[in-house]
């Protein structure tokens, strides 16, 4: 498959949050402000791309052919270790960046986008370049959806919303309407 097609398809057509339901927890949890949403988006993009490369290498050198049943356990450990490592490196090298992203890093381990992208890359039998492009596209798509809904939710603060729908329910309904809008990209690739 064409690299450009993969990129467009993962950002818009098969958006990981609005089309495939991966990463819905942070999508609803940290989308109250545009600033925090942007921070989370950058942190996720960084970790997803890096972890996809590492899990690809591990799968094709160690696991393939004999230890494939260990995939889930190995991948989640790699991701947890990687997140910890990125946190320590950032703290040492760039304290400003660490202060901006630090709070989001521990949350990323339990973000299903990271593990989901790693497993889907293997299932789709992408090569290394396609893996990187797919992971980058997936996380850009995630960030796009996150920042868009954060911008919408900021407007909710000055609106009157029925009491029972405040918070999560209205965010879910908004996500549904956004998802309808993203369906419009169907047939683009």
């Amino acid at each position: 498959m064409n690299l450009f097609t993969i990129l467009i398809s993962t950002i818009f057509v098969n958006n990981y949050v609005l089309g495939r339901f991966l990463g819905v927890c942070p999508f609803l949890g940290v989308s109250n402000k545009t600033e925090t949403a942007t921070g989370m988006g950058i942190a996720v993009t960084f970790v997803v791309t890096l972890s996809s490369i590492i899990t690809y290498i591990i799968h094709h050198t160690i696991l393939i052919g004999r230890l494939e049943y260990l995939q889930t356990i190995v991948f989640i450990l790699v991701i947890a270790a990687l997140v910890q490592f990125v946190e320590m490196v950032l703290k040492k090298i760039s304290p400003t960046l660490y202060n901006a992203l630090g709070v989001y890093l521990p949350l990323i381990t339990t973000n299903c986008v990271v593990l989901g992208v790693a497993i889907l890359n293997i299932q789709a039998e992408y090569n290394l370049i396609e893996t990187i492009v797919n992971a980058f596209g997936a996380s850009v798509g995630f960030s796009l959806a996150l920042i868009l809904i954060a911008a919408i939710r900021e407007k909710f603060e000055i609106q009157e919303i029925p009491k029972a729908l405040e918070g999560f329910p209205i965010a879910l309904i908004t996500a549904g309407l956004m998802s309808i809008a993203f369906l419009g990209f169907n047939g683009l690739v």
Binding site: L115, P169, G176, L183
Partner: protein, 208 residues
């Protein structure tokens, strides 16, 4: 603590989906048919009970600092067992649930129960807590998946209920329908709870 209280705490009072609002990804993704929703609920319940029991057994051996990675390995082990089991005995369901079986590992409900309940309570209470939370989760999945299947294809558990003149609303089988329906369901649940809370306040005032 009474075991029945622990159980109903998970099913109703702290229902993972409608009250705690965690573990949404799988709920939205697999509820296209009642059958899939039930299978996913049972898979998560199995993992929850297993991981809660093991975490409760090893809670005094594991050093505090590395408890989270240790819990994740325990959870991942049970997820792998469930995955292999489904692959061997229920190939159709395995294909229908797809990536969301391995993703049970990162389902926040399981780690949250291991951390907040099983690491502090005994074996039996932890197992009951796992069962209660699992039943609560399965119940939420069932409600959503039955509604979606009914509106989206006019059937429940693959049994056609509405006649051929019914025009199915395909949107409920697609992602937007899942988001909107779950939003409305949580809204209804909230309004019921709000009413009950205000009733209790009124009763207390009358008692005075």
């Amino acid at each position: 603590m009474k075991l029945s209280k622990v159980f109903f705490n998970g099913v109703v009072k702290e229902n993972p989906i409608f009250v705690q609002l965690i573990g949404m990804c799988s709920v939205l993704a697999v509820t296209t048919a009642a059958k899939n929703g039930l299978a996913m609920g049972l898979a998560v319940t199995g993992v929850l009970i297993g991981s809660n029991v093991v975490v409760s057994l090893i809670r005094k051996v594991v050093p505090n600092k590395i408890r989270i990675p240790a819990f994740i390995v325990v959870i991942a082990t049970f997820v792998t067992i469930v995955e292999m089991f489904m692959k061997a005995y229920a190939q159709d369901l395995y294909n229908a649930l797809g990536i969301f079986i391995p993703l049970i590992v990162v389902n926040c409900i399981i780690l949250a129960r291991a951390e907040s309940f099983a690491s502090k309570h005994g074996l039996l209470a932890s197992a009951v807590d796992g069962l209660g939370m699992g039943v609560g989760y399965t119940l939420a999945l069932l409600i959503l998946s039955i509604l979606r299947e009914f509106l989206g294809s006019g059937s429940i558990f693959d049994i056609q209920i509405l006649g051929p003149s019914f025009e199915p609303a395909i949107i409920f089988l697609m992602p937007p329908g899942a988001f909107i329906l779950l939003g409305i369901l949580i809204g209804i649940f909230n309004s019921i709870r709000n009413k009950q809370a205000s009733k209790e306040v009124l009763q207390k005032e009358e008692a005075r």
